[in-house]
Amino acid sequence: MGDKADVWQGTLALMILKTLETLGPLHGYGIARRIEQTSGDLLSLNYGTLYPALLKLEQEGSIESEWGVSDNNRKAKYYKLTRSGRKQLEREARDWRQAQAILAKFLSVTEPST
């Protein structure tokens, strides 16, 4: 735990929000699979770490949950985006893209020739 975890937590939260925006209400397992699939093999995720992140988002009021039944008739807790969560997603996605753009520009500057 430390600074790195916070960055990771923030990124994970953004991924969760985006997943819920794209796919609509979904259970924890579904979210985990989706994040893993989307990132390909680049991200190795312990599914367990997802749950504290979901709880945090729920405590902050960005998502809400209710019990439902999955496609194959399993009881599961479904998470869905709230209005405040949608706003948070927009804001954080924008911030992220901005940071990315700045960093990309910065890194694309060629080294001065000697």
């Binding site: 924890g28 397992y29 312990n46 749950y51 709880l55 729920e58 902050e60 194959n72 399993r74 599961a76």
Partner: protein, 897 residues
């Protein structure tokens, strides 16, 4: 904004997460189970065996228990949960070790209780603002004459009017004169304390009436006098009759219309501020600028908005300097402003702060004791601590656990202490002088609770920190292997424990020294030569009012037979009448002698002017040094006579015979209205102004010749034995002459004398109690440390005894160990005591006198004796464990583990 809101919302939710844990756990378990099943099904679909599918799902999850743990950390507030857990653990441990808990909690309860009680008084008496709007703007204005040593002198009419007219720093300036009024008519006659006031008094204070209205400006005129009553008087005498407002009552035989009733509670506040027990206010002072030398009024003023105190002081000084230059008789007189709050608290403040310091020292000693107990306890718990440390508890966690234990002790102590404080502040209120402002309101309130909570937490940390760090610094392997006896740790413990004992002794010595000074002060005060004999003297006030007494000679005619009848009562030695009782106030009047009839302005001599009956000196037990007392020959028609005090005679007729000298009780030798009087006797000096004050010159005149100044009238009676029994007989004699006389203020002289030093006595009792407590605590402290040290050294002692050390040698060895600690403590305490001496010596005289009357702040004899007391206590406390050690059977001691 929304980020902050989200954080806030999250914390709130986590707070909720602390509850209903079972339900939440079950819900999450169900969610995880669902998760695993979904995962397992996916895995099965991809062709795994059921076992492999489940194992893979669990691995991917990162472990069931770990996930639940992570989730729980996020769900609640882990810190709080740990805290709660530690607290419960601490409570269980404390409940098990009852002897320790009871001792420690009681020690803290005494310390915190005493501190809280004193603080509750400090809070109400010193810190609470006065109950008037913008109380900081209220000031008392006094005259002063520094050349003569008179400060806070009441103000003359002419000066008041000039101040009022010429200043532009006050939005209002009011004058009032304390007075007693006789109420007759509707009910039985009753004398009530009250004031004659200028009509603006209440508007200067900023008070609104409860019923009716305040005085109007035109009611300033003498013929337009109106009355305002306190709520209490209205209720008690008039049954709260709403029709009273607008109707008239009989005050001193005249009908006066009541215009208003003041709010309930006002009297207490007002009494607290400056005028004790006033219940009736009468307007119609009608001040005229005729008299500049006759000082009569208290003056209260309110600073105009935007004017600060220094500015007001400056301008008022300028005005009074102008007056001084303009009128020769004002020479030497100036003005003195005192903020009303300052005026209210300044007499009690030094004593209270002194007590607060003292009680703080007691608390420190208590803390040192509890720290010592904790230390011993922690040493006994070494193995437990080591095991917990081996199981993964960090240094910080161990300290936290131990600190929580000590906090729990101090909080329990504080809770118990609050009960003691509630009880103690009542006792304090009862012990304090009746006039102490605001004392009645003291008790437990929010401020006091806060204070108790803060000192509880502070002391919990203070006495817990050192032991906690000591205990948590532990060598694991050593501690676990060891079975209890620990030489190395034992030495270290003794060193810290010894340091604590040294501190205790230093503090206790300081406190004992302070208490010793105070006791000496009180002893001196009790041995002050009062100049009269207060034993078996009863005093009562006999106000004569009404038209039948308007001729002063009629008053004299009332008293003459009355005194004769009282003297005829069985058990009465002598009786007289007087204008003023010694130690209950004093009235300075100017006079001139025939030898020096025209002193320069501002240097007119003055004396306490006492009008008395013939047997006054015999009744009060004042010796006559020369000449004769008053007698029946001093009739209005006879030679006008006076008796002077020894100090007056020595001052104005040094080495001459004062008998036959003449003087006039007026600053103007040509005053035709007042006669020259001849000195016929010299009486002993009397402490008219109280034990603290020096003798003032006195002039006595017989009431038969000066009956018109006999107000207020007090009868003094000397009984053969306890005077209480004859009071009723005296009362009957008075009532048989006039059944309407409201006798009041029945008292005896010994109470009057005791009353003047009541504050000093209260402070002394408390200080003595605190010092005693400190002594006991210090004794317990050293006993605890030495006992523990002895128990640690049992083995060693066994060896010594086996090698031939005799009982006395062992005893001496142990006692020596303790006395060294005590001696170091006493030596350090000497520095503390010197600090106190310095502090007391630096106080201004006004604040110092009540604490140190006729006592030098630096006092080697006192230091030596309190040091001796402490050393004796230390020896006694060490002797018990020493004897126990020396009586031990060497064989048992050798085997002792």
């Amino acid at each position: 904004m929304s980020a902050i809101w989200k954080t806030f919302r999250a914390w709130f939710q986590r707070l909720g997460g602390l509850f209903q844990k079972a339900r939440r756990d079950a819900e999450f378990a169900a969610e995880l189970e669902g998760h695993l099943q979904l995962h397992v099904e996916d895995n099965l679909r991809s062709g795994m065996t059921p076992e492999a599918a489940r194992r893979e799902a669990l691995i991917k999850l990162g472990g069931l228990a770990q996930t639940k743990e992570l989730f729980r950390d996020r769900r609640g507030i882990p810190f709080l949960e740990f805290f709660w857990h530690d607290l419960r653990f601490a409570a269980r441990l404390l409940a098990k070790d009852r002897a320790f808990t009871v001792t420690a909690v009681l020690t803290m309860a005494l310390g915190i209780g005493a501190n809280t009680a004193i603080f509750s008084v400090v809070n109400t008496v010193l810190l609470k603002p006065l109950p008037y709007p913008e109380p900081d703007r209220l000031v008392m204005a006094w005259e002063q004459n520094p050349h003569r040593g008179w400060y806070e002198n009441i103000v003359s009419t002419a000066n008041f009017l000039d101040w009022q007219k010429q200043n532009d720093v006050f939005s209002g300036m009011a004058a009032f004169e304390s007075n007693n009024f006789t109420l007759t008519g509707e009910n039985r006659p009753e004398e009530v304390a009250g004031e004659r006031v200028t009509t603006n008094l209440f508007s200067v204070l900023g008070i609104q009436p409860f019923r009716g209205r305040l005085f109007l400006t035109e009611e300033e005129k003498e013929g337009n006098a109106r009355a305002i009553l306190s709520y209490g008087l209205w209720q008690e005498r008039y049954g709260g009759d709403p029709a009273l407002v607008g109707n008239s009552i009989t005050v001193n035989g005249r009908r006066v219309t009541v215009v208003g009733i003041l709010p309930p509670g006002f009297t207490d506040d007002y009494s607290a501020s400056f005028a004790p027990r006033s219940r009736l206010w009468i307007s119609g002072l009608d001040l005229r600028p005729q008299d500049r030398e006759f000082h009569v009024y208290h003056v209260l003023a309110r600073l105009r908005a935007g004017v600060n105190f220094a500015h007001a002081q400056f301008e008022m000084q300028a005005i009074s300097r102008r007056i001084e230059q303009q009128y020769p008789e004002s020479k030497g007189w100036g003005v003195l402003l005192v903020p009303l709050h300052e005026q209210t608290v300044k007499e009690t403040r030094p004593a209270l702060l002194f007590l607060l310091c003292a009680v703080g020292l007691v608390l420190c000693i208590g803390c040192a004791n509890v720290a010592n107990l904790l230390l011993v306890r922690a040493m006994k718990r070494q193995r437990e601590i080591a095991i917990r440390s081996a199981l993964g508890a960090s240094h910080g966690q161990l300290v936290r656990q131990l600190l929580i234990e000590s906090m729990l002790v101090s909080l329990l102590g504080a809770a118990l202490g609050l009960f003691l404080a509630a009880w103690g502040s009542q006792i304090l209120a009862r012990l304090s002088p009746p006039g102490t402002p605001g004392i009645q309101g003291s008790g437990i309130n929010t401020m006091v609770l806060l204070f108790a909570a803060v000192i509880a937490l502070a002391t919990g940390i203070l006495f817990g920190l050192a032991p906690a760090f000591e205990a948590s610094k532990i060598h694991l392997a050593v501690a676990i292997k060891k079975s209890g006896r620990s030489s190395g740790q034992g030495v270290k413990q003794s060193r810290l424990g010894g340091a604590l004992v040294v501190c205790e002794f230093a503090l206790a010595l300081t406190l004992l020294f302070g208490a010793g000074l105070m006791i000496q002060t009180l002893v001196h005060l009790n041995h002050v030569d009062l100049g009269f004999n207060p034993e078996n003297v009863v005093t009562l006030k006999v106000p004569l009012q009404g038209s039948q007494y308007e001729d002063p000679q009629k008053q004299a005619q009332f008293f003459k037979p009355l005194l004769a009848r009282i003297e005829a009562l069985p058990g009465v030695e002598a009786a007289s009448v007087t204008r003023g009782i010694p130690m209950r106030g004093w009235a300075g009047w100017g006079f001139v002698t025939a030898d020096n009839p025209y002193p320069p302005p501002g240097e007119v001599p003055d004396a306490n002017y006492v009008v008395v009956g013939p047997d006054y000196f015999k009744t009060m037990g004042i010796p006559m040094h020369a000449g004769r007392p008053f007698s029946e020959v001093d009739t209005p028609a006879g030679e006008q006579v006076a008796i002077v005090s020894e100090s007056l005679a020595q001052k104005y007729w040094p080495s001459q015979n004062p008998i036959g000298k003449r003087l006039k009780i007026s600053s103007d030798a040509n005053d035709k209205n007042l006669p020259w009087v001849t000195v016929v006797g010299v009486a002993g000096n009397v402490r008219s102004q109280g034990q603290f004050a020096p003798f003032v010159p006195e002039i006595y005149v017989p009431y038969s010749q000066f009956p018109w100044i006999l107000y207020p009238r007090q009868i003094v009676v000397r009984a053969e034995s306890s005077p209480g029994a004859i009071v009723e007989a005296i009362r009957q004699e008075v009532l048989s002459l006039d059944k309407d006389v409201p006798i009041s203020e029945v008292s005896n002289m010994q109470d009057t004398v005791a009353g003047t030093i009541r504050q000093e006595r209260t402070v002394m009792y408390l200080l003595g109690a605190f010092a005693g407590l400190a002594l006991v605590l210090a004794g317990i402290g050293i006993y605890g440390v030495i006992s523990y040290a002895v128990s640690q050294r049992t083995h060693e002692i066994g060896i010594r005894m086996a090698l031939g050390a005799s009982q006395p040698i062992v005893t001496r060895m142990v006692v020596k160990q303790g006395s060294v600690l005590a001696a170091i403590g006493v030596a350090l305490g000497l520095f503390g005591s010197l600090g106190i001496s310095r502090l007391l010596a630096s106080l201004p005289g006004e604040a110092r006198i009540p604490l140190l009357f006729d006592v030098a702040p630096f006092n080697p004899l006192m230091l030596a004796s309190v040091s001796a007391i402490l050393v004796l206590v230390a020896l006694g406390a060490c002797y018990l464990p020493a004897r126990r050690a020396s009586r031990a059977d060497p064989l048992t001691a050798l085997r002792y583990e």
